[in-house]
């Protein structure tokens, strides 16, 4: 343990020193061309009717539409069942003590609910106009089907380790699923490719981006009092993350995991009050969403431009098609993998259709009431300004919520990255500790250096891994469909009964 502590101390000191010596600039200049190239390839855009459509977004949306139709609108059909499953109506009392559907859902949701729900929506509305909200909701709705497919497969093809713990996720279903279809080599390649992507993604958007945003938030509330103190904030955050993921101090994680849902409810509650206080302009704001969706007035690329931005933000927020949530859901021990998929339908629903929409309405109604409410503020600051119009003190709890969201997202992503790592290097404890130390160092780095290009690379890779992931989902979809229909039929016939009313 002492050695680990010493190692971290060295890592962290290097980080601080790196900043002082301006090494971040060196890294930036060295990686910028790579980032530019990767970004260009992954976010390759095709121009249509004056708008630019990134192929990768098209790929994700095409998948979501396909799965929605292929599974006959399971996002509507399965909704009630999803709630019953989460409530535990179908849980066998004999399995008490195992991971419940609720727990898996809560963990996966706290990994996705984050700064994107507060700031990302503001970006969407700024760039894509009010109409982007409509497409954001639509994308959330379609994304539900993609989630179902990936989470079902995550449980079905997971690995059970000799010590009784489990490892699952896209890398496992890609490898095993393709192998079952006689494409063993291809499956191995795809699995490894995915593992590398999720590992680098975990260091970027799941880590540096989060710690950086948390620092910006804190500094904003402190009125710039933390300028130049990024290294200190970074060290503290890295220290807390270290205590949780290396030191195994679960109580900290448990506290955040408990506060995060509470903060989400708190956020939604006050957002609804703001919308209520702006009620006089609500019809106009809603009207703008619909007309904006169809006409795209004032948006580059018109309606199509609004559509692209809405879809892109939704994917950024709910991660449907990226496969990350599938890793968290694999932990559930169930005889019916498809039940986990049905439960995961609720994830894009909560994340995108509920929380993002509420944020959009807060911004939308404020914008109708006072078009200049935010001044030049963008992103999370814009959302903050919309709340501030009604509650002058709101930026403080909002910043607090932002920091907590960032923290819980980091904890979730540390696990996703770890699973990518153990997929590549095996489950040895030593390897896992090395990974966790790297992860902590990046938390500190995120606050100190503005590694834009590295973030761009990580961003691009997270989107790149949806290519093998969705390809795998297409190929394995018949299995999901078969299990889904069989499960639903057994519920209809009464073969599977609720335990609660029995």
């Amino acid at each position: 343990m002492k050695r680990i502590l010493a190692a971290t101390a060295v890592l962290l000191l290097t980080t601080a020193a790196a900043h002082a010596a301006g090494i971040d600039e060196t890294i930036n200049t060295a990686t910028a061309p790579i980032a530019a190239w990767v970004g260009k390839v992954v976010f390759f855009k095709i121009p249509i009717f004056g708008a630019e459509l990134p192929l990768v977004v098209l790929w994700l949306v095409a998948g979501a539409i396909f799965f929605t139709f292929y599974l006959k609108f399971i996002n509507i059909r399965g909704f009630k069942l999803a709630i019953e499953l989460v409530r535990g109506d179908y849980a066998n009392p004999k399995d008490a003590g195992e991971v419940s559907h609720f727990q898996a859902l809560a963990t996966a949701v706290s990994g996705t609910v984050g700064i994107g729900n507060i700031g990302g929506v503001a970006v969407a509305v700024t760039v894509g106009g009010p109409g982007a909200t409509f497409w954001l909701i639509m994308a959330g709705f379609l994304g539900m089907s993609t989630k179902l497919v990936e989470c079902t497969l995550g449980v079905k093809y997971r690995n059970e380790n000799p010590d009784g713990s489990v490892s699952g996720g896209p890398m496992y279903y890609l490898r095993k699923g393709f192998a079952e279809r006689g494409m063993e080599g291809f499956g191995k390649f795809m699995g490894t490719f995915y593992a590398i992507g999720i590992f680098i993604g975990a260091l970027g958007i799941g880590n540096m981006f989060q710690s950086n945003q948390a620092y910006v938030q804190l500094n904003h509330v402190a009125g710039g009092g933390l300028d130049g103190l990024g290294w200190l904030v970074g060290l503290i955050m890295a220290g807390i993350v270290f205590m949780v993921i290396v030191g195994g101090i679960k109580s900290i994680a448990r506290v955040t995991e408990k506060i995060v849902p509470f903060m989400a409810i708190f956020y939604c509650f006050f957002a609804l009050i703001v919308i209520f206080l702006n009620a006089s302009v609500l019809p106009e704001a809603i009207g703008n969403i619909f007309t904006g969706a169809l006409t795209g007035e004032g948006v580059a690329g018109g309606a199509l431009g609004a559509l692209i931005i809405g879809f892109q933000r939704a994917v950024f927020s709910n991660e449907a098609g990226i496969g990350s949530a599938s890793i968290a859901h694999s932990a559930v021990r169930t005889k019916e993998p498809v039940t986990e998929g049905i439960v995961s339908l609720l994830e894009p629903f909560i994340d995108t259709i509920v929380i993002c929409t509420i944020t959009a309405l807060v911004i939308g109604t404020s914008a109708v009431a006072d078009p200049n409410f935010a001044g030049t503020a963008k992103g999370i600051a814009m959302t903050s300004a919309a709340f501030e119009r009604q509650f002058s003190w709101f930026p403080i709890p909002l910043a607090f919520a932002g920091v907590l969201f960032a923290f819980s997202t980091m904890i979730s992503w540390s696990y996703y990255g770890l699973k990518g790592w153990t997929y590549m290097f095996g489950e040895s404890m030593r390897g896992q500790t090395i990974y966790k130390l790297i992860f902590c160092a990046f938390v500190a780095l995120g606050c100190v250096v503005q590694l834009g290009p590295i973030l761009d690379i990580s961003d691009a890779l997270v989107f790149l891994i949806c290519v093998p992931n969705i390809l795998g989902l297409y190929i394995l979809a018949p299995i999901v469909k078969r299990e889904l229909e069989s499960y639903l039929a057994r519920i209809d016939s009464g073969e599977i009964k609720k335990y609660k009313d029995a």
């Binding site: 008490a96 003590g97 991971v99 419940s100 679960k250 994680a253 448990r254 995991e257 995060v260 559930v332």
Partner: protein, 144 residues
């Protein structure tokens, strides 16, 4: 037909007294005992992904520990007195789980030890014996 007594056991001194008392009653009335250990657990709690992945392993460990350190020693001494005994470990809400067990196994009585908590403590943390008395479908004997 012999009766079945359910005894709530958590390893505390009170629960051992409850088991001893129940053994005497069982001897006198030719009844059988079920020793039940409830591990407090809620399906609606929040965990990190790491904890979820290890949950199954932890659950087995918890059950194994309850059995070897608490239930088996008590069951041994009960058996030595000539009473037929069975042990059960269950996860869940203590009171609800005991009530469900009593119903499921057709127990005719529940025995539970009491901790003698102060009013403040039982107000804060609740008392299993207290709520069991209120919700049990069969008579409950609270052993001081």
């Amino acid at each position: 037909m012999s009766n079945t007594f359910l005894v709530a056991v958590d390893g505390s001194k009170g629960s051992i007294r409850a088991a001893e008392f129940a053994t005497e009653r069982a001897l006198a009335s030719k009844s059988e005992l079920i020793l039940a250990y409830v591990i407090e657990w809620s399906p609606y709690s929040f965990h990190t992904p790491d904890e979820l992945a290890e949950r199954h392993k932890r659950r087995e460990e918890e059950i194994e520990r309850a059995q070897s350190t608490v239930l088996e020693p008590i069951a041994k001494s009960v058996k030595a007195k000539g009473v037929k005994v069975e042990v059960v470990v269950h996860h869940g809400h203590p009171t609800e789980t005991l009530v469900d067990l009593a119903k499921e196994r057709g127990a005719t009585q529940i025995f539970i030890g009491r901790k003698g908590e102060s009013r403040v403590a039982s107000l804060l943390f609740g008392s299993v014996a207290g709520s069991l008395v209120q919700t049990s479908p069969v008579p409950v004997t609270v052993v001081p």
